[in-house]
């Protein structure tokens, strides 16, 4: 086991542990079993404390949020669970490698090592993780009050949807740090809950993109010939009108469509990844090892899974990261035009649409939602940029 030179091991490990308090999954960066375990334990503690505080504040219904966008929230939780599962595997792996006397650095170890030294990637990760934390624990960060419902029991209301019509377009104050909108709803609370929508749609739509577009690109690039030609023609047809206009047209088919249909439309028709993956596959399939595998009679599906996909994974990861940002911007644009997330739900683009009318009188309605979009998308872009450098060192 080589040791990084320059700084004492203690400093390096303390830094790793501190970083991991915010980043679940960063445990990969650590070396020994105990450091890893400590890092994961740290993450668990931070999540536990946040969750405990949310529960102790009496917001047991924190999954639901103020509207019916449960799906995006559930997806975020699934993402979190995935990170944990990866973490457990990682720990397990490190137990095994600890029993071996020597272990060499593989591709992923080298990559994570490079990644941990790239300030761009760490900044991006931190930005994204802060937004993910805010999205997951939105009810804890947001304000609200309780009132006695008609049925007699106490009902909690979030200020993100509760309209206070006597207090509309109030400038930032102690009570409303970022002011209120034209219906007296708290801007900060809406932004906090809007994080769930933006991230949820962005992540789900991108995963679908990768599934559909990735599949098309893989098949087209690998089989070439007529299959490829058909796919490319179809892509060309879809790509020849602006994506936003295409989505507007398709969205017109379900005028009352909610977040779920938005995710589906963006996910299925955002075929930009197909092109990139196709070109990647085209270059991989010409490599000698693919020819060799074919020569010894490895079945096609196995070649794709075992040889082509792992070699194209670097660009897949970069494209995924970048397209989350793109999708967030597209959703904001659609909501801004009034064809995205339907109104009562607090989406950033929708908030900007409402702010447009009051640009002369209520600047706070326009400034902050946009800043949220910029910070989130910037996080994904800078992470993708750093990943591009890290995953493929040949390019540097």
């Amino acid at each position: 086991m080589t040791r990084r030179r320059g700084q004492p091991r203690f400093v390096l490990e303390t830094r790793d542990v501190l970083l991991s308090l915010l980043l679940p999954g960063l445990g990969h960066l650590a070396r020994g079993f105990w450091t890893k375990a400590l890092m994961y334990l740290g993450t668990l503690t931070v999540f536990g404390i946040t969750m405990g505080m949310a529960v102790s504040k009496g917001r047991l219904s924190w999954i639901a949020g103020p509207s019916d966008y449960w799906f995006s929230t559930v997806m975020l939780f699934v993402m979190l669970m995935l990170i944990w599962i990866i973490g457990i595997f990682d720990l397990n792996h490190s137990v095994r490698s600890r029993t071996e006397r020597h272990y060499s650095f593989g591709y992923w170890q080298m990559t994570t090592r490079r990644f941990s030294k790239d300030p761009k990637g760490i900044i991006g990760m931190l930005l994204i993780l802060v937004t993910v934390h805010i999205a997951l624990f939105a009810p804890f960060f947001a304000s609200g009050h309780s009132f006695k419902g008609v049925e007699g029991y106490v009902k909690p209301v979030s200020h993100a949807i509760h309209m206070d019509l006597r207090n509309f377009r109030a400038p930032p104050s102690n009570e409303h740090p970022l002011g209120t909108d034209h219906l007296g709803r708290d801007v900060l609370d809406r932004l906090i809950f809007g994080t769930r929508i933006a991230l949820g749609i962005g992540v789900v739509a991108t995963l679908l993109n990768m599934l559909f577009g990735g599949f098309l690109g893989l098949v087209g690039g690998f089989f070439r010939g007529a299959t490829d030609a058909t796919i490319m023609r179809a892509l060309e047809i879809v790509n020849s009108i602006p994506f936003l206009v295409l989505v507007l047209l398709i969205r017109g088919l379900w005028p009352g469509g909610g977040i779920l249909s938005l995710m589906l439309i963006l996910g299925i028709f955002g075929l930009q990844p197909a092109r990139i993956i196709r070109s990647e596959v085209l270059s991989v399939r010409e490599q000698d090892y693919v020819t060799a595998a074919r020569a010894i009679g490895v079945p096609t599906w196995r070649i794709i899974l075992k040889y082509v996909l792992p070699n194209a994974i670097a660009s897949l990861i970069v494209v995924t990261t970048m397209s989350i940002g793109v999708n967030i911007i597209v959703v904001a644009g659609l909501s801004f035009l009034g064809h995205g997330v339907p109104p009562p739900a607090p989406s950033w683009g929708g908030m900007l649409q409402q702010a447009q009318e009051f640009i002369r009188t209520a600047w706070w309605m326009a400034v902050f939602p946009g800043l949220c979009i910029v910070v989130t998308v910037f996080g994904f872009n800078i992470l993708g940029d750093s990943l591009r450098d890290v995953l493929d060192p040949k390019l540097k």
Binding site: L249, A366, V374
Partner: protein
């Protein structure tokens, strides 16, 4: 070369045809009846029936499709809610968009190419970090929010630029539909905010691309050779490096000419610029199927043609590339 061009054009025709079918089917599948919208609130049933008859909305789809297509090319297709032929509706809005797009492109190129060049030449300097960070920010900023912020700062707070609209314009050659506004002072002032907003994304993308392409070229052997010959650094950079680094940038600009129209949808809506982008949003809201159809085809045509020109230009810039 000529054979390739012809084949590409044939492909364009095929793509456009498939697109017309796609857009038509989408429009027809949309809920809501354009005849009801046209007749207005509280219209008699007979009026609605009459409109349906007049527009052929009760005919089978292939017949309606043929009406759309042939009407579009012969100029007989009437817009459903604008009381004008479709081509005239689009032609009246087009000069504004082209004006905006060209200005946006000029601003984007004027800023991004020098920025990208400098950051590649002074690599890993403070300047480089600033340029790359700002460019990355530029990609992350939604165009419409940037336009809103410009309106807020320069229009509302400082009050030096008009907030929205197009301002005075002059009709060229006495044609009422061909109006340009940048020649008048008022129109020029109106143009600044939307074109800067529209340019923001292109600016960022071009700067990144110029930097990457320049870095690539600077690593080439012939740059080394040129330096070893004792040429001045400026000549090496401009004559040997920059000219070769330009090819991908030019391609990208060509593609962007098409995307400028797309970006115009959001910018024009935000700044109330009377171009085709805003027309698209308006027509969709009014359920004017004829205008949406015509506009979608027009945009696709513009896109496709700019792609073909990019391909041909690529071969012209880089003689190593031949199409056969």
């Amino acid at each position: 070369m000529i054979g390739y061009t012809l084949r590409r054009l044939l492909q364009v025709v095929f793509t456009l045809f498939a697109l017309t079918v796609l857009v038509f089917v989408l429009l027809k599948l949309m809920p809501g009846d354009p005849a009801v919208v046209m007749a207005g609130i509280g219209a008699q049933l007979e009026t609605i029936e009459g409109i349906r008859e007049e527009l052929g909305l009760n005919r089978p789809w292939p017949v309606q499709y043929w009406r759309f297509i042939s009407g579009l090319f012969s100029g007989r297709l009437q817009a459903m809610t604008y009381h004008k032929p479709v081509y005239l509706v689009i032609a009246q809005r087009l000069p504004a968009t082209i004006e905006l797009g060209l200005f946006g492109l000029i601003i984007a190129l004027a800023v991004s190419i020098p920025a990208g060049l400098l950051s590649a030449i002074y690599r890993n300097s403070l300047l480089d970090y600033t340029v790359t960070t700002v460019a990355l920010m530029g990609i992350s900023i939604p165009v419409f929010w940037f336009a809103l912020m410009l309106m807020l700062v320069f229009g509302v707070i400082l009050g030096i630029l008009p907030v929205s609209g197009r301002g005075d314009s002059i009709a060229l050659f006495g044609w009422q539909w061909l109006r340009v506004s940048f020649v008048t002072w008022d129109g020029f002032r109106h143009l600044i905010i939307p074109s800067v907003a529209l340019a923001s994304v292109q600016m960022a993308m071009n700067a990144r691309l110029t930097r990457a392409s320049m870095l690539e070229v600077l690593r080439e052997e012939y740059v080394n050779t040129a330096r070893a010959k004792g040429l001045k650094e400026r000549i090496v950079l401009i004559k040997h490096a920059f000219r070769n680094a330009l090819a991908p940038v030019v391609t990208n600009v060509g593609i962007q000419v098409g995307t400028l129209i797309a970006g115009a949808v959001l910018t024009e809506t935000t700044t109330a610029w009377p171009g085709v982008g805003r027309l698209m949003v308006e027509a969709l809201q009014r359920q004017d199927q004829a205008v949406v159809f015509g506009l979608a085809i027009f945009m696709a045509f513009f896109f496709q043609i700019s792609y073909v020109i990019v391909d041909l230009m690529y071969a012209y810039i880089d003689p190593r590339i031949t199409y056969d």
